[in-house]
Amino acid sequence: MTLSLLTPAFSVGRNEERCIRCGVCVNQCINQVHHLDEDGFMWVTEKNCVGCHRCAVLCPTQALTITRFPLDFRPNQYWSADSLREIYRQAESGGVLLTGMGNPRPYRSYFDHLLLNASQVTNPSIDPLREPMELTTYLGDHSAGLSEAEKPLLKLEIPVMFSAMSYGAVSLNVQKSLARAAREMVTYWNTGEGGLHDEVKEYADCTIVQVASGRFGVSPDYLNNAAAIEIKIGQGAKPGIGGHLPAEKVSPGVAQTRMIPAWSDAISPAPHHDIYSIEDLAQLIETIKVATDFQKPVAVKVAAVHNISAIASGIVRAGADIVAIDGFRGATGAAPLRIRDNIGIPIEMAIAQVDQRLRDEGIRPKASLVSAGGIRNSADVVKILALGADAVYIGTAALVALGCHLCQTCFTGRCNWGIATTDRQLSKRLNPEIGAMRAINLLKAWEHEIKEMMGGMGINAVDSLRGNRLMLKGIGLEQHELDLLGVSPAGA
Amino acid sequence: MRYVIIGNCIAAAGAVEGIRSYDQKGEITIIDGERRGCYSRPLISYLLAGSKGAAGLHYRSEAFFARNQARVIPARAVRIDPPAGQVELDDGMMIDYDRLLLATGASPLIPELPGIEHPRVKTLYTWKDAEEIAALVETGATAVILGSGLIGLKAAEALHQRGMKVVIVEKQEQILPRLLSPWSATIALRHLQEQGIQVLTGHQAVSISESGEVELDHGAKIPAQLVIVAVGNRPNQSLAREAGLKTGKGIIVNQYLQTSDPDIWAAGDVIETHNILSGAAEVMALLPLAHLEGYLAGCNMAGQAVRYPGAIFLNAVHFMGMHIIAAGEPNRSGTVLQWQQGSSSLEMTIDGDYLLRYIAINLPGITGPLTAIVEQQIRIELKEWQEFIREPSMASLPAAYWAEMRRWEEHGGLRCG
């Protein structure tokens, strides 16, 4: 093989005055960046470093720093360093560029161009420490008249759920952490498309099971061992393509859960091969409802793509009780880089448009709207609810709470944080008790913040925040963007 | 309840702890024949060597006895009257007891040799002995040690440290015959010799002259400033015998450490202990057992019924920078595995799937688990030991051992106590 033109992405700095040769960095880096030799010399193999910070975080003397490798190309506004490196990579590998997590490109984030309102004088703000502040949310079809039987609903005490992340893409300990947190906080976690492992079956009451194009692990038991069922059509990180869990991640546990042979590739087709049109979806929804005796709401998850309003309308009319829309910032365990970075639309636009479209069509009460992809903090939650979502899914934020450092190499299965891996040794690194505690802490913190923000607005029930676009003002947005979001500019 | 303990030693301290675990009120009286308080016998060689002051010898402080409300009487018991429930002291005083513990220990064996009464011929068994020897130490002069057991070697070390030339005379063909195998004894011997100690194995003294010259069986004569006799010990069971208690090589006790008289218990070097491995009752004068036996006897005297399952031979000795630890049954044979690296070595005797004995030299770290494996008779296949002995370490201990440890942790179940 000829010389690789790729230089390391990161530089590992070691402060010799601090390094005590304890070897923690050595034993913690699965990528073998650090090496301590018999003579007490520390060596680093920087090209292996993915910038996950595992070593730096665990270093007891803070002797390590990870920085970007300081090798600049001649400045070029058009040909960025990344675009050059990507070409080097492809010139060497001849393959599709793979990556993980969500779209990192500097597209406009509408969340960062929306400001929230607060009460001053003319109405009182409400102090959540003194007054009740309700985040209770029911997801599902609310359209049944009072004289009819109510449709099954999901009750959430905080309008934040954990996104679909399959066992296989993430470790079982991630699922255990999120399941425990969901139960504690009275919300839901989502199995993703990888089936339901025996050890998380006990969380049925707070589990949403997913039915995706690979149909991994799907059985009547699976559907019934859940609070709701989600049909996944697409996801924000890779709209229009299927999934591929590389064979290296298909451990015996994963294999059993997915009902496939161990150490074989798990391929989810791009479309469901029994859904080539909206009426096919209606049939699958009906089939699942029959299989679960009409006792559980059925959700349909789609990626936010260009004509999302029409798609969402069709989904509601096809009988979905919940429509989950995954924006272009949504993450994944593995996706082709070009797809992740160039397909889809912002979730803010998608929710604003879908909510309005469903209202215009008078069918908004028939389904709840869940926003996924790119929710970073409680303010994002409040903003997306005000734009019209009933609840949100968080995936990346939940994983970050568990320790993810967004190194974007999930697809390798060599996650130093024990998250995006099925390796036994690595999976250990996430103790679900700690994971659950951290996820619970995150949700509790957001809960407090959401309540503070609602209280400031003079609102004491999340019902009154939902679709309350007067609580939003745009800043630095063009008129057409304001119109699409249905908000007025700051100052108006 | 009146508890009386004869002997103020390790077993006595254990007994006080045992009694007080269950009885906070009863009177405890300890008869301290040596009048030195509760000190640790093995430490007297450190006193002799000068590496430890008198204060460091105490096994339990006076405060310990005060705190436990145990009265210590500096006197020697001369007679026991079981029907009357009394102990007679050397000053004529009579002490009443309801429950009596005999912790009278042992005494050194003195061979019958011409000149053995010579004033520069000493034993090293008591604090007083150590003081007397210390008074005779002369730098550069020769000290002859008869016997290469634990006491002999500790005496050799102490005198060597005090600047004396030391010659050890051992009747057997190897040093530490009760502890080591010939293979490991060779390793230990080499170490002793490297430290400048002369060892004559396979010989014994036949006489000691007026001038202190020791004559050996092959005619050699060693002029000695000091002769230490360390050829073994014997239980002090005369009190028991005279009181009509059943005795053998030592006082005979049941599994509750009770003698043939139900109000009298016995513990420590004076008793015959059940050897777990051989199944026989033997005198096992080992300090670790003394405390446990005293403790269990104390518990039982206070009305409990705690069984003493017996023990195995085990010893740890440290001299001149060498640590020797050995445990198990020296007299049974089996497959022998040996390992040596630098100054460390390990020898294991395995019979079937059971470890019978090990001898570890300068390899102390793994001995605790090995002792447990011998004592608890944890079943481990030979091939696992063959794997282990390639690189003996905590991490390479056989899986069966760790499984057993987990079981203990979950359910309790150490056989002792």
Binding site: R18, I20, C22, G23, V24, N27, Q28, L58, P60, T61, Q425, K428, R429, L430, N431, E433, I434 | G14, S40, P42, L43, Y46, K52, G56, H58, Y59, L287, P288, H291, L292, Y295, L314, N315, A316, V317, H318, G321, H323, I325, A327, P364, G365, T367, G368, P369, T371, A372, Q376, M394, A395, S396, L397, W408, E409, E410, G412, G413, L414, C416, G417
Partner: protein
């Protein structure tokens, strides 16, 4: 009371050993100083076996064999049930090492005495190994007294 080690979540990183060593060998638990200036020794060893690892801590047994065996009375049990060693009195005979069935007690580096877990009784708060375990594999527990 004892530190319980859960191999299921032990990463084998060894931070417990480091902080244990620093907590006991001077410099006020300052890890950097302790290791740069001295040669601190952990009181409990991390055992790494195949795919499992755990801290081999003291079980602080009831009727502890090590206390029974101690020649000098250096090993004691305090009011809280913590088995600790009075280093001043230890002569390094290693009898306790020989009788600890868990292999917890180990010789000191200089071989003149032994070291063992004392649950950081001289410091305030929970033992250093527990508080610095990054994955909750160590916990201070009241239960399970091994006899």
């Amino acid at each position: 009371m004892r530190v319980q080690s859960n191999p299921e979540y032990c990463l084998g990183c060894g931070l417990c050993r480091l902080y244990c060593a620093a907590a006991h060998d001077g410099y006020d638990g300052n890890l950097l100083k302790a290791f740069k200036r001295g040669t601190p020794q952990p009181r409990a060893d991390l055992i790494v076996r195949n795919d499992k690892s755990w801290l081999n801590t003291c079980r602080h047994c009831h009727n502890a064999p090590c206390i029974n065996a101690c020649l000098t009375g250096a090993l004691q049990k305090d009011d809280q049930g913590i088995v600790f060693i009075d280093s001043q009195r230890c002569v390094g005979c290693f009898t306790c090492v020989m009788v600890c069935p868990f292999g917890h007690i180990q010789p000191s580096r200089d071989s003149y005495r032994v070291v063992k877990c004392d649950l950081c009784r001289d410091q305030k708060g929970i033992p250093a190994c527990v508080s610095f375990c990054p994955n909750g594999a160590l916990s201070l527990t009241e239960e399970v007294e091994t006899r």
